[in-house]
């Protein structure tokens, strides 16, 4: 038995003229928890596809158990024990847990008959082996995300996995579920199964992984035991930049607040919130899911009809009763899930940018295409959207760029108050820094008031000049200046019940 399970040596892979991988070497030992980090387009997904036999590299060789395997195809990769769990899990929601678990094995064994009894026995055994309590007769579609993930892991184990590759496994999980997942992963490790995490969530990587490999632009730029790295070092390796985060301390002009909220309540979720926002301020709201933070944002944006209390914008009392009204008043809201809640993915960047202001770009009954072009080209440049042209479909953009399109759309509406809910969820580190810079710029230069809601405590600490901690519909802590540290917010969140 060799001491490496799978080893890539000097792998090179091209797509057309683009070098996706360049002289990449990577070794994974049996039973090790390894993390592969890198921004979008760094080559980490290409590496996964090489390891699982989907792509054949032009250069280099692949060794399994110390022996060269030559050309690896998906079936041989599975036979060697390499299993990939994709972000969508590739499960069948209409079928039961037992059937989902058995199908792959049966297909692999070339069976013609569906043996239900054996399927159920297999399911019971493998679920017991990873120590989870899931009904093998339940339909997979009725399970929560974490349950479906467990089924996907169980399926990989049944396929005699020796290496399980998990693509962004923690994205849709709550903290509690992440802990449960990590317990399962450590258990797999104890059984000699290696796990390769592909992730850009640095905190979680630091917590679970033993070794780390970082990719940038198709090359390996760092590797080593996890203890050699801290968050800053990983970020530096991933982006090649030192992203120094100076805290945001704007010079605030004297004068009345831009937005003033008194005794705002939404039945069942928000209670008596007082809030003020001056031009140039970025005010953070931290709180757990269900604390009422999203409802507060929705209320300001006219989406909570049951709202009571007063809202003043520029000194004038307003009553936004619908999204259209809120936009007309100068309030913009970028929702949590930018992909499902706001953008038209198959449509161009240009169309996505102007969709909220079509009414203003009218000439008679027709759309003034020249005005559309001018407006969008300016915003396309300001937002530094990385795409060949404004004609590119938004669906082809990375998460960070899609988020910039969304920001750009709201700025075109002439918003004075910008409400951001999880502005960098699912965005890689480099893009995140750019988005933060744009938001700060907008606040400082354009005098916008920004309300930033986020789970990401460091994000709030570096980008906000004040932070409110919200719990059960109320602000329970208000922090600013030097009192605004990660520890204090985390403490405040932890003591809540």
């Amino acid at each position: 038995m060799s001491d490496t399970l799978i080893e890539l040596r000097n792998i090179g892979k091209r797509f057309g003229g683009v070098r996706a991988l360049d002289g990449v070497s990577l070794a994974i030992r049996p039973g090790e928890i390894h993390c592969l980090a890198g921004e979008n387009g760094s080559g980490k997904s290409t590496v996964i596809k090489v390891m699982s036999g989907i792509y054949t590299p032009e250069e280099g060789e692949i060794l399994i158990d110390g022996r060269p395997v030559g050309r690896l195809d998906p079936i041989r990769a599975v036979q060697h024990g390499v299993q990939v769990i994709y972000q969508d899990f590739s499960l069948f929601g209409n079928l039961t847990v037992a059937e989902n678990l058995a199908l792959n094995t049966y297909v692999l064994e070339g069976r013609r008959r569906m043996d239900w009894r054996r399927a159920r026995a297999m399911a019971v055994e493998v679920l017991a082996r990873i120590g989870v309590d899931i009904d093998p007769d339940a339909e997979v579609g009725t399970l929560p995300t974490s349950g479906r993930q467990v089924v996907a892991i169980a399926r990989a184990i049944l396929a005699r996995a020796r290496l399980i590759i998990m693509d962004e496994p923690t994205t849709a999980l709550t903290r509690h579920e992440v802990d449960a997942l990590f317990a399962i992963v450590r258990d797999l490790q104890a059984q000699g199964i290696a796990v390769l995490f592909v992730s850009h969530k640095m905190r979680e990587m630091l917590e679970i992984s033993e070794r780390l490999t970082v990719f940038r632009n198709g090359r390996k730029v760092a590797e080593g035991p996890m203890s050699d790295f801290d968050e800053a070092a990983i970020t530096h390796a991933m982006t090649g930049l030192s992203l120094t985060d100076d805290p945001y301390r704007p010079a605030l002009p004297p004068g009345p607040p831009l937005l003033e909220v008194r005794k705002l309540s939404v039945p069942g979720s928000v209670q008596d919130i007082d809030l003020s926002l001056r031009p140039g301020e970025i005010v953070g709201i931290s709180g757990l899911i269900g604390s009422g933070r999203t409802e507060l944002a929705r209320a300001l944006f006219g989406m909570e009809p049951g709202m009571t209390g007063t809202i003043r914008l520029g000194g004038r009392e307003i009553h936004p009763r619908s999204v259209q009204e809120a936009i007309a008043l100068g309030i913009a809201y970028v929702p949590e899930d930018r992909l499902t809640e706001g953008l038209f993915l198959p449509q161009s960047i240009e169309r996505n940018l102007v969709v909220s202001i079509l009414e203003r770009l009218r000439r008679g009954p027709f759309l003034d295409t020249r005005a559309v072009r001018e407006k969008t080209l300016g915003m396309f440049r300001d937002m530094q959207i990385a795409a060949p042209s404004p004609e590119t479909a938004v669906g082809n953009l990375s998460g960070g760029n899609a988020q910039r399109v969304m920001l750009g759309r709201w700025l075109l509406t002439g918003a004075r108050v910008l409400i951001l809910n999880g502005p960098t969820v699912g965005v890689d580190v480099g893009s995140k820094a750019t988005i933060h810079r744009i938001i700060r710029d907008l606040a400082q230069r354009e005098g916008l008031g920004v309300l930033m809601i986020s789970d990401d405590v460091p994000e709030l600490v570096t980008n906000c000049n004040r932070i409110h901690v919200m719990h059960r519909g109320r602000f329970v802590a208000d922090l600013d200046g030097s009192g605004m540290t990660e520890d204090r917010i985390n403490d405040a969140l932890k003591t809540l019940n």
Partner: protein, 325 residues
């Protein structure tokens, strides 16, 4: 307890309630003569429905089966008349083969060009009906010219009952053919890997591919078998009504799809069962039959069938969406 929550159980309860209700309005419903005639009306639609069920589980839809059925029965009967051939087994095999080939045409277009099944089967239906009428003409083969053995086969009864007024009513043996096919279909769908691949493909085609299923084979299997069943059903139909009409089965696609949806199959694919479909077919036939007993005009029957398909689809869609959420 699980069975109490299954779709089939709910549908069966609805059917039972409907039967009781109809029986109250019209006591003649429970007469053996009526029940026998109901059973007879189930056979052809039911066999077609089993094919449609297969297609719908795979996430597709088939509107070409009435055309395929007509083509199979008319080509075979005309050939028998021309060649002066009489028999049972060969005509049925030939009709099934014609259905298989036409279903294969659907499969080829859908699999090779990754086309939407609705459009493909609409096109196939139009091509097939046009070709039959254009090449073979539109004359109806009536009982006097129909092959005798075929008629004998079609009129075979399992049992007969004599009513008080001296008339006899028979329960057609074709019911056994129907139930036999249903049983085989159930075994295939439930207990073979090719059957499970249809469910997997209908739930999520990409995942089915990743799981290692040969999904091209699944598509070929689905449309070929659906075509074969349509051809066979067409032949059975002609031998039961002693007539071969090239304009038969107009508008039948809606009835059959309505029956399958009533039986709990999902329009999104991945869901549906033989047991549910049998009940769905029975329910649809019963409703149409009752409308006749209540002397409702055929034009108004179309309205009822339309309402049934809309309501049943809405309910199953609502159910599936709730489960997905």
């Amino acid at each position: 307890m699980k069975i109490l929550h299954s779709s089939e159980f709910v549908i069966a309860l609805v059917l039972l309630a409907a039967m009781v209700l109809i029986g109250l309005v019209n006591p003649a419903f429970w007469g053996l003569d009526n029940l026998f005639s109901l059973a007879k009306s189930n056979v052809v639609i039911g066999i077609m429905a089993l094919g449609v069920l297969l297609v719908m589980i795979s996430g597709g839809i088939d509107v070409s089966f009435p055309a395929i059925a007509v083509a199979a029965l008319y080509i075979v009967v005309r050939a028998m008349v021309e060649l002066n051939y009489d028999g049972v087994l060969v005509p049925f095999l030939a009709a099934a083969a014609i259905g298989l080939v036409l279903g294969g045409f659907n499969a080829f277009i859908i699999e090779r060009f990754r086309m939407i099944p609705l459009i493909v089967t609409l096109g196939t239906a139009s091509i097939v009906r046009g070709l039959v009428l254009g090449l073979l003409g539109s004359s109806i083969v009536n009982i006097n010219k129909m092959p005798k053995e075929l008629i004998e086969f079609g009129r075979h009864d399992l049992m007969t009952v004599e009513a008080a007024n001296g008339a006899t009513y028979g329960l057609t043996s074709m019911v056994l053919v129907y139930l036999g096919i249903a049983l085989v279909m159930h075994l295939v769908l439930r207990h073979t890997m090719i059957g499970r691949s249809v469910y997997a493909y209908g739930t999520d085609a990409e995942s089915a591919r990743r799981a290692g299923f040969n999904t091209r084979r699944t598509i070929w299997f689905v449309y070929c078998l659906a075509g074969l069943l349509a051809g066979f059903a067409g032949m059975l139909h002609t031998s039961m009504i002693w007539q071969a009409n090239p304009r038969d089965f107009q508008g039948l696609e809606l009835d059959v799809i309505a029956a399958v949806v009533l039986g709990g199959a999902s329009i999104f694919g991945g869901r549906g069962s033989v047991a549910g479909t049998l009940i769905g077919v029975f329910m649809l036939v019963m409703v149409k039959n009752s409308l006749i007993l209540l002397k409702v005009d055929t034009t108004w029957q179309r309205v009822v069938v339309g309402l049934i398909i809309v309501a049943a689809t809405a309910i199953t869609a609502w159910r599936d969406r709730k489960k997905l959420a």
